[in-house]
Amino acid sequence: MTEGRPWLTFLGKALVILTLGVLFLFPLYWILTMAFKPQDEWSPVGHVYWKPSQWTLDNFRQIFGTAKNTGFFTAAPTDATSSILHSVVAATGGTILAMLVGVFAAYGIARYRAGGSFLPFQILQLRMFPPIAIVIPLLIMYSYLHLVDTFWGLILIYGAVTFPFVVWLMRSFFQEVPREISEAAIVDGCSQWGAFFKAVLPQVRGGLAATALFVFILNWSDFLLALVLSGSNTETAPVFLNGLQSAGAGQEYGPQAALGLILIIPPAVFGLAIQRYLVRGLTFGAIKQ
C-alpha cells in the first residue's frame, strides 16, 4: 500500500506485530509454565519465576488425584478427573441435541422458508439474552422437574443455548447448495426427505463437522449455566476450577493452572481445525471467510 521507503515501514510493521504478539502470547505462556512449576515457585512474595527452575508434573498428579504426598495445605479436594468427564458428557450431549434440532430447522428455513421470515430472528435473539436472566426461572423449573444436578438438565440447556448457532451456521451452508440440486433429486424420483438426505446433506458434510466442533467448543467453555444448574455429581471442570479458586486459603496456582491447561486443549485443537469456519460461526454465518 505505502509508496514510502520500503525498509523503514517494514521495520515499523515488524516491531508493532512483535509487541502485539508478545502481549497476546504471554498470558498463555504464563499458564503453560505455571502448570509445571513446583509449589514454592507459584507466587513467592517479591519474586517472579519467569520460567520454572525445575519442571514438575506434581500439579497434574494433584489434578488427577494420583498425588503421592497430599501435603498440600488446602483441605479442598483437588481430584478433577470426574469434573473433566462431566464436562465431556455435558458438552457432547448438548452438541448432539443442538445439531439434531438445529440442522433440520436450518434446512426448513433455508429451503422452504418455514416458520415465516421472523423465525430466524427469534432464534438469534435467544443467543443475545444474557443466560443469567433466564437462569432463575430455569432453576425453579428444573427443581420442579427434578432436573437440577442431572446430566439431562445440562444437556437440555446446553442444546437450547447453542441451537441458534447451528441454525444460522447450517442455514448459510445450505444456502450455498444450489436449490436445483434438491430439485434435480425430486425430478429423479425422491421425496422431499429423500432429496434432503441423499442429495443435499452430502454436500454440507464439511459444514456439519465444523458446526458440531464449533458448538462443542461453546458448550465445553460454559461456566455460568453449569455453576447454577450442576451439583456435586454433574459438576463440570470450569466450575471445579472456580471451586479451587475461591476455596483455597493460599492460592493453588499449580493445580489450577494444570486444570486450566487441560481445559484449553480441546477448544484450541478443535478451533484450529475449523479455523476457516470460525469467522462464519461467530458471526452467525453472516460473514464467510
Partner: protein, 371 residues
C-alpha cells in the same frame, strides 16, 4: 414419446408475472426452442412443465393427460438445469445411476443402462470421476446423460450450452441435434442465443416478459416476424427500422420517406389496418440493404466494421443510422456518400405499435423508387 400442451398458463412470483396466459402445443418428437431475453420467463416455463412450479391459472397436458397436479418425480419428464445441478459428492456413475436407483431398478439393469448411455455420450472413461474434476463439456454431457438415462418421454434443456466456450458450443450443437434425432424424444430447449434457436430447432417460440410473441418454424421467425421485438431478437446485426408515412390512392398504398417512396402491390389486405397519413415503420435486414453503382437512396458512410467474411457498414440515411452487410472487397470511405437499393422482395412493414402488417418474405410485394 410425448406431445406437451400448455393451456393459458399464468405464473406469478409476488407482484412479478413470470408467465401470462401462455398457450402452446409442442408436437411429439419435436425439437422445440423457447427464445427470449434473460428474465422473459423461459426457465419458469420449463419448471412449470416439469412440475417444480405450480401455475396460478391454466393447465399442463402431456399426451392429452392433465398433469398440472402430478408430482415432478411421477411425470416421466427429465430436466437439465442451466447450472447442470450434478451431485458434486457422487461419481459420474452414481450421478447417472441416481434416477434409476430411485425407481428401484435392479442392480445389473442399472449397470447396463448407465454404460449404454455413457457410450452414446462418449463419457465411458469418466464414470469413476467426480463432477468437480470434469471439463465444462464433459460435465454438460454427464448432466445430459442423467436426464436421458431414465428414457423419459420428454426432455427439457435450460440453456445447456451457455457455459461452454464458442468452439465447444458449435460441436455440442451438432451432437445435441444428432442425439435428439437418434432418441426421437420431444425436446423443449430454452436459450437466449438466436443462432442456437435458429440452427437447432424444428419450431421456435419467442417469449417476452412472460407473453408469447410468435410460434413458428425458424424461416418464418426470420422472414415473417410477428412484430418489431421478434424482428430484432433474430438476426445479427439486428433489423433496421425506417419511419415512413402511409398514403392511400384508391386501392394502392404508397409509403413515403423524404428520400424515397415504396409502393405496395396488392394492398387490399391492409385497407382497414392502416389509416391514411398514419406513421409506420419499414423493416429491412442489413443483408437486404445493397450498396449499388446506379442511382438509389443517397446515404453517407458513418463507420465501417470489416468482419473478414463480410463488412457491416453504418449508413446515415436522412439522419437515421441504417446498418448494411456488404462484400468486404467493396471500397468504402468513411464520410463518403453512396447509393442504396432496398431489396423489395425482403422488406417488412410494421405499424406504429410494432405489430407486423406485411412481410415480403421473397415475393416482390414492395417496389422502392427514388423521386
Amino acid at each position: 414419446m410425448a406431445s406437451i400442451r400448455l393451456e393459458n398458463v399464468t405464473k406469478r412470483f409476488g407482484a412479478v408475472t413470470a408467465l401470462s396466459g401462455v398457450t402452446v402445443e409442442i408436437n411429439d418428437g419435436e425439437f422445440f426452442a423457447v427464445l427470449g431475453h434473460p428474465g422473459a420467463g423461459k426457465t419458469t416455463l420449463l419448471r412449470t412443465i416439469v412440475g417444480l412450479e405450480r401455475p396460478e391459472e391454466g393447465d399442463v397436458y402431456v399426451d392429452g393427460e392433465r398433469i398440472t397436479d402430478v408430482y415432478p418425480g411421477d411425470r416421466d419428464i427429465a430436466i437439465m438445469f442451466q447450472n447442470l445441478a450434478l451431485y458434486p459428492d457422487k461419481s459420474v456413475y452414481d450421478n447417472l445411476a441416481f434416477p434409476l436407483k430411485q425407481a428401484k431398478v435392479a442392480k445389473q439393469e442399472i449397470d447396463r443402462r448407465v454404460n449404454e448411455v455413457a457410450g452414446t455420450l462418449h463419457i465411458e472413461r469418466l464414470l469413476k470421476r467426480k463432477p468437480g474434476k470434469l471439463s465444462g463439456g464433459e460435465r454438460q454431457r454427464v448432466a445430459l446423460g442423467r436426464a436421458i438415462v431414465r428414457d423419459p418421454r420428454a426432455l427439457l434443456l435450460d440453456e445447456p450450452l451457455s457455459a461452454l466456450d464458442a468452439l465447444l458450443r458449435l460441436e455440442m450443437r451438432a451432437e445435441l441435434k444428432r442425439l435428439q434425432r437418434e432418441l426421437g424424444r420431444t425436446v423443449v430447449y430454452v436459450t437466449h442465443d438466436q443462432v442456437e434457436a435458429m440452427s437447432m430447432s424444428d419450431r421456435i417460440a419467442v417469449l417476452r416478459e412472460g407473453a408469447l410473441q410468435q410460434i413458428d418454424v425458424p424461416e418464418n421467425i426470420y422472414n415473417r416476424p410477428a412484430n418489431r421485438f421478434v424482428a430484432i431478437v433474430v438476426g445479427s446485426p439486428p433489423m433496421n427500422f425506417v419511419p415512413v408515412r402511409a398514403h392511400w390512392a384508391g386501392a394502392s398504398l404508397e409509403l413515403r420517406h423524404d428520400l424515397f417512396s415504396t409502393t405496395v402491390a396488392d394492398a387490399a389486405s391492409l385497407q382497414g389496418l392502416l389509416a391514411d397519413g398514419a406513421a409506420c415503420q419499414l423493416g429491412v435486414r442489413p443483408e437486404d440493404v445493397h450498396v449499388t453503382a446506379e442511382p438509389g437512396i443517397p446515404a453517407s458512410v458513418y463507420v465501417t466494421e470489416p468482419l473478414g467474411g463480410e463488412t457491416v457498414v453504418d449508413l446515415d440515411v436522412g439522419g437515421r443510422l441504417v446498418k448494411a452487410l456488404v462484400d468486404p472487397r467493396l471500397e468504402l470511405v468513411e464520410g463518403g456518400t453512396v447509393q442504396l437499393q432496398l431489396d423489395g422482395s425482403r422488406l417488412h412493414l410494421f405499424d406504429e405499435s410494432g405489430g407486423s402488417l406485411l412481410s415480403a418474405a421473397g415475393d416482390p410485394l414492395f417496389a422502392v423508387s427514388v423521386p
